[in-house]
Every structure is written in structure tokens, then in C-alpha cells.
């Protein structure tokens, strides 16, 4: 689904990402872990063609993302607040994104229905702009909007941060459910080793822009990772 070829990004001669080869298969749930500054977000931005790689390319369905806009039609993403239009209310925002995917009002109702548990009655139907929502609620809006239009791939940066425990668990269930029922390819980065090993079947550990570990999640993965970061 997504193939990385010789990808490298440097700022003023310092290499922040260097991934010679990485492939993410369709339907795979891919977890990216690493300390601050490991290059996780930069890597994701290059997958979304928001940053031009210094070298190499990211291929989505075999096509370089910087040469076409086609990937936008099947890729959902939420990295940070700049993915939200903060002067709209959540309803207006969903409506706008929905209109990009030609959702009818019925489609929209059905779509938002799936998020009732996640939203916990705090998002829709409120006359409040997104900029006035709490960080956690903004995140909920962003994640829901990223899933709009039945994407085949979804990229989430720190989806569990800022969420309350109940919502974290509901989000995990939601993601697992989407993976089961929509064959969704998921790319998740997180500092929360517990959640990310729970949701993802493959974990890649990034350190200073390089892939240090690439493991299939097993019962011992969480312990191994904790050990790795403790002795880092």
C-alpha cells in the first residue's frame, strides 16, 4: 500500500529522517514509536506530501505522492490542529469535509452515528467553534473527519494523547472495528506503548530518524519496548 524508497530528509545538513526501505501492506496496522525528535511526524508529513524529501520518495499504491493528488482520495489523516478549520463549528466542519466526499445529509447522519460513543455528546449539535473546544475534543473532531469518505489508509499522530481514559478505550475499539470491517490500513504514532501495542500488529521503532526495530507485535512486545526506552 505504502512503500518508502531511500527516503531521507535533512535540515541544514542534519539528517532527521533516513529510511532506506519500508513497506506497509494493505490492511496492516502499523505503529510508529520513538522519543521526541525521532522524526515520526516528519516521516508522516512526507507520506502526506506536506514536506518535500531531500532524497527518495514515498509511493502510495505504487505512485509517488509528490507527483499526483490521487492519494488524497483514499487517505485520511490527522496530525495536528492545522488539519482543522478552527473557526467552524464541528458540525460545519464535518459538513464541509463531507461535501468534499459528496456525503448526503443521510450519509452524514449515518457516519456520525458511529462516533456517538466517542463524542460523548460534547461535539455535535453544540454552537461552539472548534477553536473554543478543549484539545481532547479537537482531537475527536480531527479523528472522525479523517475517517470520512471511507479511506483505505489513515495516518494518526498521537491519537491517544489528551483523551480521557474512557475515550482512549473507545477509540481503540473503534480503530480495531474499522480495521476489521473496512480493511483499513492504519499508521499510528504514539508515545503510549500500551495502547499502540494493543492496536497495532506491527511496531517500528524510530530513533534519530532511523529504523532501529521492526517487529511483529507479540505478548512480549510491550515489555521489550519498555526495556528499550528505559535503557535508552
Amino acid at each position: 500500500m505504502i512503500d518508502v524508497k531511500d527516503l531521507s530528509k535533512s535540515y541544514k545538513g542534519v539528517e532527521v529522517v533516513n529510511i532506506p526501505e519500508l513497506s506497509i501492506a494493505k490492511g496492516e496496522s502499523f505503529g510508529l514509536v520513538g522519543n521526541n525528535g525521532a522524526g515520526k511526524t516528519t516521516f508522516y508529513r512526507m507520506i502526506l506530501d506536506l514536506i518535500r524529501p531531500t532524497k527518495g520518495a514515498v509511493l502510495s499504491k505504487g505512485i509517488d505522492v509528490s507527483t499526483t493528488e490521487d492519494w488524497k482520495f483514499y487517505t485520511g489523516s490527522f496530525l495536528d490542529e492545522s488539519f482543522l478549520i478552527d473557526y467552524l463549528t464541528p458540525d460545519e466542519y464535518f459538513e464541509f469535509v463531507g461535501s468534499l466526499h459528496s456525503y448526503s445529509p443521510g450519509d452524514m447522519k449515518e457516519f456520525l452515528g458511529q462516533f456517538e460513543a466517542l463524542f460523548n455528546g460534547e461535539i455535535t449539535g453544540k454552537k461552539k467553534y472548534i477553536r473554543d473546544l478543549s484539545k481532547g475534543n479537537q482531537k475527536k473532531v480531527g479523528i472522525a473527519a479523517a475517517l470520512m469518505g471511507n479511506p483505505e489508509v489513515i495516518l494518526l499522530d498521537e491519537p491517544f494523547a489528551n483523551l480521557d481514559p474512557t475515550t482512549q478505550i473507545r477509540l481503540k475499539d473503534l480503530l480495531k472495528d474499522w480495521k476489521e470491517n473496512h480493511q483499513l490500513t492504519m499508521l499510528i504514532s504514539s508515545h503510549d506503548l500500551n495502547h499502540v501495542t494493543d492496536v497495532c500488529e506491527r511496531i517500528v521503532l524510530l530513533e534519530k530518524g532511523e529504523v532501529k526495530q521492526d517487529i511483529k507485535t507479540s505478548a512480549s512486545t510491550l515489555k521489550d519496548l519498555e526495556e528499550y526506552f528505559a535503557t535508552y
Binding site: L50, I51, I85, Y87, E92
Partner: protein
Amino acid sequence: MIYAIAAGMAIAFKLDDFFPDQNPVELINGALLYYFFIEFTLRFFLQNVPVLSIQPYLHLPIKKRQFLNFMLRKSQVSVFNLLALFLFTPTAIFKIGQEYGALTGVLWLTMIIGMVFTIHFLGILFKKKLNDAPNLLLGMVVLFAGLGALDYFQIVSFSSVSEQLFGAVLAQPAFAAIPVLLWIVLYRLNYLYLAKNTYPEEISIKKDKAKVSGDFTFLKRFGRIGELIGLELKLILRHKRPRNSLVMSGLLLFYGLVFYTQDSFQELNGVFLLAGVFVTGSFFINHGQFLLSWESGYFDFIMIRKSKIRQFFEAKYYMFVAACTIAFVASLGYAYFGLEIILFNLAAYLFNIGISIPFVMRIAMYSPKKIDLNKGAAFNYEGVGAAQFLIAIPVLGLPYVFYGPLAVFGYGNYGLLLVALIGLVGFLLRNKTIDYLTNSFTKNRHKIAAGFRAQ
């Protein structure tokens, strides 16, 4: 600032010429009360309350007393407080100083300064109290209107009250201590108020706006483009700064009056083309110069969403065309000053929509800067770069490149025709231009996005 000094000089020296039969000092004293009323009102709308800035200090081991004093003192350094100083210092030196002696002049100025800072702290206190009692504003408006009415119907003359009040200092200079005392008292009141309310949520002046404005559902009939225009309109109406530039554009509609009413321009009517450019194009000049910067806050959204970048530019183009058209239709009223003005405006309008809009859009793409939409509008130069200065050249100059040579040789009408035709051709080729804009954006997109993120 220079204007203020110049105005101050004018008050000191020119007042004699305008009102030769009145004593200038009395006149100034009579006007002071009005001046302070106006200043108070201006401050109320424009001045920032220094309160919100205490938040980052609250958790640090600094004594409350220290940072409150620091905050209040710092607030005194403000353009508003300098204004009166510039306006009245010349008078104090050259008029009062000469007539009543240097000491009286200094004390008179001290009184002015005392009043300025009294108003300064009164304004802050008032703005904060307003939070507890929103009806205060209404009361204030009623009070001011009532006082104004009293004055207007000459039941009470405030100018004579003002004259006696401020004139008292000239008779007995020690009265200058009163405003200074008021200043200190109000400082203390502010301090006490703040000390009791150091919880940011209580003193924050943000009002909870439950209202959500404008839906623009009708635009959805125009498909994706309409949808995008609706989004941009929401952006404009929901933020102070773009809203202000929209209001400015509305006011620029009257810019033509400057030209059309001057007899000297009737001969030299080439200038009308310039007026036409402004009158019909003010919106795209004002708003379009920051084309992408407005959306810098959610630029990543634009880049990753399932919408063709071309439509994004198409929407902007048509929004500007629509704004020009509205302005042109409104400008038809200028026919009152002569039908030829309509011809000038028509030529300028066509040139704007055909040539100048794409030009502005292209130049605005040249390393745009981030704009934080949630900041205020007054004295906000965020997003202004070299490109914003360059924009004036093609918009104002290009029409004259075509019109000028013909007009010089007396074929002004053909010049207008040429300008209009070129504009029309540009408009007919709009799809090509939008393609070109899209391409140049696509080439520079990473640089623009990085620029918005970095700042």
C-alpha cells in the same frame, strides 16, 4: 506620530488664525473635556487590557505584588498616552508658557498628563468591570448620549464647564495636583481589583459567544466552488482582521468622491482611471494581498484533503470577481458626477477582473507569511512582506501602461477601450490563468507550507 506632532504645532500656532476673536488658550481648555471623552471612547474600543498577560507568571515564585505593579506600570507605556503629550506640549510651551509663565505651562502639561493616565486606568478598570456587569456599557452609552444631548440643546455647556475646570490651573497652578492624585488613586484601585482577581478566567475579557454567524447555504447551489467561497466568507466574517479589511473595502467605494468633486481633476480626467481601479477593486487588493496567509492556520488541511487545488484557486478568483462586480454596480451611482465616470469604472473593472486579480494572486504567493487570525486588527502587520508592497505596482501602474500613451496624444477614449479590451481578453482566458496559478502553487507548495509552519 508625526501627524500628532504636526497637529500639536497647528493647535499651538494656527488656532489664532481660525478663530481670531477668541482666546486660543480658553478655546483649548474648552475643548479638552470633549477630547478626553473621545479619548476614553477610543481607548475603550482599541486598548488592550494588560490583564491576560499575567497568566504565565502566576505559577512562578514571584510575589503577586511585584508582578501586578510591573504589569500596571508597563501598561502605561502605550501609544495612546503619548498622543496627548504630542498634541498639547507645543501649546504648553508656546502659548501658556509665554502668557502665564513657564511654571504654569509645566503644571498645565502635568495636568494633561495626569488626566491621560487617569483615563488610562479608568479605561482598564471600566473594561474589566464590564465583565461583571454587561449592562454597564448600556448605562455608559445612555449617560454619554444624555450628556451629549444636554450639551447639544445648550442646557449645560460642557465647553464652559471644561474651560473653567482646566482653566482653574492657570489661575491657581496647584490644582494640577488633582489629576495627578486621581491618577494615583485609580492606579491603586486597579491594583486592588487585580489583587483580588488574579484568576485569569475571572478577569478575561473574552465573552462567550454562543452565536454562530452566517451559513451561506445558498452558495452550495454553485457546487464545490460555491462551498469554498462560503468557507472563505465565514473566515472573513468570523475574524476581526479580515472583517475590518472588508469594511475598509466598503469605505473605499467612496474614494471616488475625492476625485470627482475636485474641479481641477475634471480637466485631467485620466486620474479617474485610478479612482476606478480603487473603487471597483478595493476588496481583492485588501483581501487578496494575503491570499494564502489567511489560511495559514489550516494550510495542511488544504494540502491533504480530497479537493483539487485548482478548485481552491477557482473559488478565490470567482469570489474576487463577484466582489468587483458588486463594487462596480454600486459605483454606477457615480453617474451623478458625469457619465464618463461610468466608462472609466467599466474599463477599470474589466481590467481588474481580467488582469489585476490574477496578478495579485500570483504575487501574493511569493513567500507568504503566516497570519494568526485570532489576533486583533489594529496595528497588526502580520503577513506583510515584500510582496504586499509590490502589489501596488501592477494594480495601479498596468492600466496606465495602456491608457497613458494614447491619452497623452489625445485619444483617451481609445485608451480606455484598449484597457477594457485587454481586461476582457484576460477574463476570457481565465481558465488558462487559473491553470497557471495552480501550477505555480503546486511547484512552490512545500516551501509555502514550511514557511507557515516555521513561524
